[in-house]
Symmetry: D2
Subunit: 374 residues, 4 copies
């Protein structure tokens, strides 16, 4: 088994998730490249040191450039705040590394374009962490759609609701500032929705009309007790969309919805059937196709199992359930396979750039009140 | 118990549904006005006669004017094709009758306006048959919203998908022609969505941007074997909407979706909670409100029962389930109560007119590509 | 359309439900015998008079013998307390009437036997109101099973949980006394379970071993404030069962379960598939049969619709939902069809007697701790 | 961070699952003992060597005694066929190791007793892999029950259905022989049910009456084409049970049910509420407790999240879903914590023995037709 040297930059949740994926990948798949955990980086040396121990890395650093320039490192995870993705990724690609960058790609279209240019100029493979397309249930949905199981796709509907900021008593944070964070629910949450739409339809969104709303326009200023501070980016966003291949859809996202915890849910309507999925039940896919006997028609709840690759790398029996972390391992496995084969993986930086352009178009349309071309 | 003389015009499914409601109403509620089935009307005298027998009317006619002018008739059900609603309703109101008119109100805004004018000029009570707001589960949702149980309403999302025309092999029909039928999914299906939105929010939609799609643009011409005929109204329609009271939403409808049979489903997101409903499980309401202990937070599935008026008029125990026909009886009961009290019932003709205006705005916006004020 | 004269004895919920069914039946089905509401009976003349008005009967009485002997009455509903079913039913049959008797059949096996003997000696048709077998979804399940869609039936599992007595603060009532009411959850609730088992398998239970439990053995004595009274019949009952045709199963019931309101749910496991049903979602049937492609295997949720007779007598489109009352109308329709054809309907008194015998066997087994033959 | 040397014996699915858990544990929890993968064992040296590489062990062996006697090894996973558990576990305990043994404990009560005696005589910690009790949702259920959230527990119901042998065309295997494998569905599947019952109630089953069935009594003999071979252990098993603390229940299991893939599902009924769980949706717990306002009563679907330890070791946000493998890591974490603290973990060998005794009692009762004390 060939090894590949790994560097992870950023040790928040995503840095941890990537590290666990690197640890487990070879055990799960037993084939292909075997990750070797070389170096982990955090701005705080103490934390970097601790995380190296916890997560099983050989070395640590508090300077991301050390990771980028480390000759033992071949693949780098960029798990830092969004506004640093571009600089680190571009440097890593320039240094000949492969890059696994978390979503969203960056905080400006210009940065995302530069990242894509850097990837094009490099021999490295790239992937953006749009994880909700890597679940075997979703992969199976894509396969069903491609095979024509539901006919020609006519419509795609998707919402993603979370409760992160649902509590209006939560104080103002930098995420609620256009200057500091760009869009709100759009960048954080809707980006996943767009990735799923592109993945499932095998097409991309070409036109949008959007609408945004700020549900809690004033929040307590954490720095000035008793005062309020203005939220100026979107708590909620919605859009009507048209895809290149003629599919129509509507998409939406909210960071202020009570009750949903990971409320991504989508439907694909085709001329011969319908597929429905809910992320909170990620091991289930609902499929309707016409039966010979209409008296037994109905949505079928398919539980993921060994028939849905790469489920069987994890578990021998259906219905035993993969979790979020397992799907992150699937994502890594696709990247490692891509690095071995030299074939790009979806969504590479150039695929991610298109998603960013749709997010941007939704935002511009929401502000202008016009349909906007992507 | 005071009686009220009934005339039913039209003997298709809706004429039958109204008639059954009239038969059962007094038995169920045991109070208020007792319907007396006077006369039923169908264009075919044979069918009219047969239906009078089946449905328990004293008399029948093949001329709707006889019903309108019948002195024993006080309340008239208009269950005829949509393009006849205006003429019949206006005549009935002019004759001093109360009118229960099926949805959609008519086929043109002008007709709907005339109907509303006639209602205003009359002492009769009117109601449009937007039945999906009369279910005790939905009434309870409205009550929860009004009471502030989920805080300030921020968003309303609703789709209604049916499979009526999902099969692309079904031949062309007059319903697929703008000239003959007006809009497609908009008038047939989205109208219900709008009624639900108005009912739940206690507000009305003021601005929309819409999008329509024709999924099967050519269908077999039933009159010319081997030839195709063009479908020129919407198989699918979607819109972003803004309400008078600041609620944002998206709504959609389709007549070509496989798998959904009566696929109306909606969500209301508030600043303290969320409510979800699916018409195919019409006895269930999902409610999320914050618990003291977040470890026991979760959507609650409320089964309708005696705590949800007027459920207890039908059944003494919860969970025993009302059906579509029972909800039609609830609708009638509201109308009869209105007639007794002299207080208008929602949605009267003037409420229905606003719904028609929203439908029209969605259609105009879909054609113009602009946000449109209602 | 031929008419049939109706007498209803007892005006509680079941008397009302029967009366509504009689009113609606002809309108719904439009064929066959048309009920003519002759006379209704309640012990209180005032109430009887009021109910005659409310429910649309021509006459009323406070003496059930008047109903039984009324020459205009051909079909009698027995909706009185359980310990009066036998006397009234036997008299009605002796008078040449058909009888629709509510469940459970009576309070003793001897009474149920006498009722059966009276039915055998009479030309009248009889039916016991085991309503949960009359729903089109359940009828369809039976049809699927008979057709071999799930292979040979191997197992039947069913529970019925309700919350009627779940609150331990509710005072003692006569229902909690073996002397006054016989068994508890067994007679009230498990009887339905057994009826469903017999109906679906087309066989009958031949051997049982049971277990009972009294969850709240003492309750407040309503007649003696501050004192407690002993509950001596079953709050919960469960049994392992074996059917004549080799099916094995377990069944159970409780009157003290929180959360379930009408919690009848069953599974039938066959050698080629499985069927699942929940009464609280009475318009859905879950069916699993093997697919050619195991990757699309899964339970299908079938919504009742026009393909499931007699749904289409009520509604033209699937998914619109029948309710409890509609299913009661289906039950009546089967009885009227039986009266017209002269063919017995299931469950006649003799079918009901077998159900009573199983209930008795479960109770005896629970007390003796032995397997018991029915 | 202190390390602990690990040996894994057996490299089938469970050996792999244990190994992945050992790899991920420290990364996930970041505290406590850090597993150091020393040696893996498989009867085939080639396979052992390959698995050492894949799974990240330093060494391998084809002789389990080498693992047991390896001084660098402190904790041993026993993932071999059931009839070898006793010999290996006893040797490991005698050598002063801790033991993580897969379920069921062994193939005879005598062996399970010897294992328990060895554990008692040893200072090693032991655990049997009854994984379905280690899920944060289930742990939370136990906590709710202990805290009295649903009052006094009255009933426990649980079934576990799988489709392993549902296809009657599958040939005979040694698992279908009492001589070779002991009981069928009882040992394989019902054992989990019993573990869950003991865990949730905090009590143990004391009396049972059981029933078994062989659904496919003859299967193709894989060694003699065209001939059949007799299945003589249980395809299905069911029992009524009584717990030491007065809870009544029924339990069941089947290896021949179509549709369920990992169909463990249970209910706990208490005097103030009800809890429901389905393993195929392992991140959801359904809880009913009485609300102040009965109009908002209903089962709440709780999604596991950071409020449900140790979920937050894996994921920072609720609803993101743990999978089977994560729960195995939870199980390991409990064992490692036990090793550190010296406090036994549930279910140790002595707890596992009680489960075996219940399985044995169910089997004896099924054969004798009598209630049996455990």
């Amino acid at each position: 088994m060939k090894e590949i040297g790994i560097g992870v930059i950023g040790t928040g949740f995503m840095g941890k998730a990537h590290s666990i994926a690197y640890s487990a990948s070879a055990s799960v798949f037993g084939t292909g490249l075997r990750p070797r955990l070389e170096i982990v980086c955090d701005l705080s040396p103490e934390r970097a040191s601790q995380r190296a121990t916890d997560l099983g890395f050989s070395r640590y650093s508090s300077d991301w450039r050390e990771v980028v320039n480390d000759p033992a490192v071949e693949l780098i995870s960029v798990c830092t705040p969004n506004d640093t993705h571009a600089e680190i990724s571009i440097a890593a690609l320039a240094a000949g590394k492969h890059v696994w960058c978390e979503k969203p790609m960056s905080t400006t279209l210009a940065d995302s374009q530069s990242m894509t240019d850097a990837a094009t100029a490099s021999s490295g493979q790239t992937i953006i962490g749009y994880n909700y397309t890597k679940n075997p249930a979703v992969t199976h949905a894509r396969k069903l759609i491609e095979s024509g199981a539901i006919g020609r796709v006519a419509a795609f509907f998707c919402r993603y609701d979370v409760d992160n900021e649902a509590d209006g008593q939560r104080p103002w944070s930098w995420r609620m500032s256009r200057d500091r964070s760009g869009t709100g629910a759009n960048g954080d949450v809707l980006s996943h929705v767009i990735s799923v739409g592109h993945y499932l339809t095998g097409s991309t969104i070409k036109r949008v009309v959007g609408d945004i709303a700020i549900v809690h326009p004033e929040r307590d200023d954490p720095d000035n007790p008793g005062q309020q501070k203005t939220v100026d980016n979107d708590d909620m966003v919605a859009a009507l969309v048209q895809f290149e291949n003629g599919v129509h859809g509507h998409i939406g996202a909210s960071r202020v919805t009570w009750g949903y915890k990971c409320g991504l849910r989508w439907e694909v309507h085709g001329t011969n059937g319908t597929i429905i999925f809910e992320q909170e039940r990620l091991n289930e896919l609902k499929l309707f196709t016409r039966q010979d006997d209409p008296a037994t028609d109905g949505f079928r709840t398919i539980l993921t199992g060994p028939q849905h690759p790469p489920y069987s790398a994890f578990l021998p029996n259906g219905g035993h359930s993969l979790g979020y972390m397992d799907v992150k391992i699937c994502e890594l496995h696709e990247l490692l396979t891509s690095i071995e084969s030299g074939e790009p993986v979806w969504p590479s930086f150039s695929d991610g750039l298109i998603i960013e352009k749709v997010m941007d178009a939704v935002d511009r349309s929401s502000l202008s009140g016009q349909w906007v071309d992507v």
